[in-house]
Symmetry: C2
Subunit: 165 residues, 2 copies
DNA sequence: TATTGTTATACTCTATAACTATA
DNA sequence: TATAGTTATAGAGTATAACAATA
């Protein structure tokens, strides 16, 4: 049974296996919860966070941004409006195409993004505190494999520019 | 670097380790994406899905529901309003406390929840298709441990009624 | 007085459809 | 005509504050 309540019964002795499906769903809620909490601290939505993440190494147009975020372009208009109003991003009109704009991060946005990443590292660090170092490495490899498989299934045609890491 | 763009660069030979933090974030986006896609098919939000999940084996009051969902009680009023309008849940006034209501699932809601779970099992099954059976068991155990640790951190005082599994 | 729940209000986020301007 | 983007509109979802009814 896939548990979608985000609540888990636990006991003192800790060897419970939730089963793969529940485990992944619960884990995803835990991670998204951490993301959401930090985002809320900065009065950001998760989509705003993703926007900043995308703009770290790209200056996409609105349409392109819509594709990245799986949103309608009109939704992106509002999203960028609000982020721009807060001084996190900026629109620049394209020199090549009079219709197009390029969205980029401001210094302020970049600073916030960096701060966010640091907090996220702390929060997720706490989350995996209970695992031994070898277990962490195992989890990292397995989670990476599933995540990468998922990306391959979801984005069969999209080739992405290399990300700084 | 925690990647929050939900996009992953991948190559043909697949042994990449994203690092634990990115791996968990990416994995959580993949799982939540699956949840969100199925929810959207049924015109449900993720919160509506969680509501149905909670009501599988409880008939909580509005306040209690707010606590489960980490929402304000006024938000739950609207949430339950919309679900009730669609015939998925119902309010019943409590016999003991004249102020309170009890929210429960309708037959229609229960049927939808069952269907949802089946779809989720299929989708998540596809997600872990690339793992060997022993790797799946390992992932299950490790993910369970992190998820349960997270639940313990997040809900130190809350004791939950046993869930059917 | 405290608690349960709803209402009023305001904002974010989202999509659809219609629009403008450029290609 | 097609594409890039915005605007108008409508609805879900959220929180805060004020309210009603019951305990």
């Amino acid at each position: 049974m896939v548990c979608v309540t985000n609540y888990v019964k636990y006991t003192a002795e800790m060897t419970t296996d939730l089963g793969l499906l529940d485990a992944l769903v619960q884990l995803s809620f835990a991670v998204q919860g951490a993301l959401g909490r930090i985002a809320a601290e900065h009065e950001l939505s998760l989509v705003q966070v993703r926007l900043l993440g995308i703009l770290r190494d790209r200056e996409p147009g609105m349409q392109e941004l819509a594709k990245f975020l799986s949103l309608d372009k009109s939704s992106v208009t509002g999203l960028v409006d609000r982020a721009e109003r807060r001084g996190l991003v900026q629109r620049e009109s394209s020199s090549e195409d009079g219709r197009a704009v390029r969205v980029s991060m401001t210094e302020q946005g970049r600073a916030l993004a960096q701060q966010f990443v640091k907090q996220m590292e702390r929060e997720l660090g706490a989350l995996v505190e209970g695992l031994s170092e070898p277990d962490r490495r195992r989890l990292s490899v397995l989670a990476s494999q599933v995540a990468l498989d998922a990306a391959r299934q979801a984005l069969p045609g999209i080739s992405l520019s290399p990300r700084k890491r």
